[in-house]
């Protein structure tokens, strides 16, 4: 998709493939692609909007729309110049079934998900958590540099939004550097705990472990749970792994062929 569009991000989507797969195919999210906006659905917000190729591919695989649509990534559909773009570079609110929020400006999806979680509490009142929708929000580790994220955590903990699970793709890179070179040296997990979140740490490229963490997070009360998923940026493609330059570099034809050969072996 990225190669064909000539733009987009690859390292993040590759690091988080197991996370999205665990969410959408691990039985942890209750959704019905034939009724994508059902009141009863679980909500997934991709706050790190630059992972859009991964989100679109996962939604297509899950049956929200035809796989063939993926060829339209970043392409204008039909004569309309604005609304025609179903798969824009960064996700836009309900541009296709399954896309819950406009994201890509980091931090904003986190607050949006908090808004959904509090809405569900308002609508369902004291009804048992098991019967009410759940909200899952994925963000990246670089995204935690946005102050808005911490405002959102603070509010979510104070309001005891235990129907909300945060996930962090800790792939340790951002656009121009390693996250460790840009953030303070205090451990991310310690900061999250200090904010009152229930922290789970997991090997984020291990599908089974991510699934188990999602199951566990569902039972955490009364504060929201955050699952820190330790991943490898550019996972599965040796020449991309752990390299900040692949955060937003578009592979050329040769690089793409090499990458696909490696990825199909997994």
């Amino acid at each position: 998709m990225v190669s064909r569009a000539g733009a987009g991000h690859v390292a993040g989507p590759l690091s988080a493939s197991e996370i999205l797969t665990a969410i959408y195919f691990g039985g942890e999210i209750r959704v019905d692609p034939s009724d994508p906006w059902s009141e009863e659905r679980d909500r997934f917000v991709l706050s790190c909007g630059h992972y859009s190729p991964l989100l679109y591919a996962t939604l297509a695989m899950r049956g929200y729309f035809e796989m063939g649509e993926l060829a339209r990534f970043m392409k204008v559909d039909g004569p309309s110049t604005t609304l025609g773009i179903k798969l824009p570079g960064h996700p836009e609110y309900r541009s296709v079934p399954g896309v819950e929020a406009t994201t890509g400006s980091l931090g904003q999806g986190v607050s949006f998900a908090v808004g959904q979680a509090i809405s569900i509490k308002l609508k369902y009142g004291e009804r048992a958590q098991k019967e009410t929708p759940r909200v899952i929000c994925l963000m990246s580790d670089g995204e935690l540099q946005e102050g808005q994220v911490w405002e959102a955590f603070n509010f979510a903990v104070r309001r005891q939004l235990d129907n909300l699970t945060f996930m962090i793709d800790k792939n340790r890179i951002q656009i121009g550097n390693y996250v460790s070179q840009v953030s303070s040296s205090i451990r991310m997990e310690a900061k999250l705990e200090a904010f009152g979140l229930h922290v789970l740490e997991v090997e984020g490229n291990d599908l089974t472990k991510v699934r188990q963490a999602l199951m566990k997070a569902r039972e955490v009360r009364p504060v929201p749970c955050v699952i820190v998923c330790k991943t490898t940026a550019g996972k599965g493609v040796t020449f991309m792994e752990n390299k900040p330059e692949w955060h937003d570099k578009v592979p050329n034809r040769q690089e793409m062929e090499r990458a696909l050969v490696e990825l199909t072996k997994i």
Partner: protein
């Protein structure tokens, strides 16, 4: 339409007080929720808090998160009213308005308190002079500037009936509450004092917003005795703008003055100029804050210093029309 009530003796009320009566009028709808940026009393949303505590959210001093949460609530069918001072919301969180609310066309209503120099002593950090400019630049954002407490109430009711993002600019001081029984509609400018095409030799249109509408009426009355006939138009709907009424008035008088407690760059004057330069090029005098920040003075002191008081405005208009 001419103002029927005796507007000169209208009792004084703060525009922000209209927030509490407006929210009271729509509060029984369970979809209405109010988000507060730790200024509930000052922004007059505390009445809603008392009446509907379950639908009132104290978000703390965290405006970016507040706007994002409002977008999430709107996506779930709620009608959030987000309240703070305009410098903070939509000032500090403008990008959250842009991405989470406006691009998504979500049904969020933004109440920006303490608009303009009228804010007074708190000084330029708290006086929003750019909010109309930054909000009207956002595609499909409705921008309303009520002229008094009654219109603030009407604006809230109108925003509730309208589906989509709306910004309402409010103000702090006690000013005459004079628009009772006058119509208010999104997208409509109202002619409060029409010029009689037969009367007087010198004619001018005054397009004003917010507190300056009342000043315009006072000025028009005084200038009439000097032979200058002013058509006073309340442009409380800055966006969408009532192009037809603006153009008709400009054609009738041939000269236009705009009045706003806001930066002249990008505010009401700019918006009117955009319309007229395309449809009816007209000489304009744009009265507002001219490329300065405010100061820490009283409402009256600041208006005098910035040339927004009745005498300064009259002098500007005289010079403009008689030159």
């Amino acid at each position: 339409m001419t103002i029927r009530i005796d507007w000169r003796t209208a009792e004084k009320r703060a525009i922000r007080d209209g927030v509490s009566t407006g929210l009271a009028a729509i509060g029984s709808d369970k979809r209405v929720v109010v988000l507060s940026g730790d200024l509930a009393e000052s922004t007059r949303i505390n009445g809603f808090e008392e009446a509907y505590p379950d639908r009132f959210f104290e978000m703390g001093v965290a405006e970016q998160n507040m706007m994002g949460v409002a977008a999430g609530l709107a996506s779930e069918g709620f009608v959030p009213y987000v309240s703070s001072y305009a410098v903070f919301s939509p000032g500090r969180n403008w990008e959250q308005v842009r991405v989470s609310v406006a691009i998504s066309k979500l049904n969020v209503k933004i109440l920006g308190g303490h608009g303009g120099l009228a804010t007074g002593q708190n000084g330029p950090t708290h006086q929003a002079g750019e909010d109309v400019a930054i909000m009207r630049a956002l595609p499909k954002m409705v921008v309303l500037v009520p002229a008094d407490a009654e219109q603030a109430k009407q604006a809230i009711i109108a925003s509730y009936k309208y589906v989509g993002p709306v910004y309402i600019r409010l103000a702090r001081p006690q000013t005459p509450n004079f628009t009772k029984d006058l119509p208010f509609e999104i997208g409509k400018a109202e002619v409060y004092r029409p010029v009689d095409p037969q009367a007087g030799k010198v004619r001018v249109s005054i397009f004003a917003m917010g507190i300056m509408v009342y000043t315009a009426l006072l000025v028009a009355q005084d200038l009439a005795s000097e032979g200058i006939e002013c058509e006073v138009v309340n442009v409380s709907s800055v966006k969408p703008m009532d192009r037809q009424t603006i153009v008709m008035s400009a054609k009738k008088t041939g000269k236009v003055v705009t009045m706003e407690d806001h930066q002249t760059a990008g505010g009401l004057g700019g918006a009117v100029a955009e319309v007229l330069s395309e449809e009816c090029p007209t000489r304009m005098e744009i009265i507002g804050i001219e490329d300065r920040f405010g100061g820490s003075g009283s409402f009256d002191e600041l208006y005098r210093d910035f040339g927004l008081d009745t005498d300064s405005v009259k002098a500007r208009i005289r010079k403009f029309v008689l030159d």
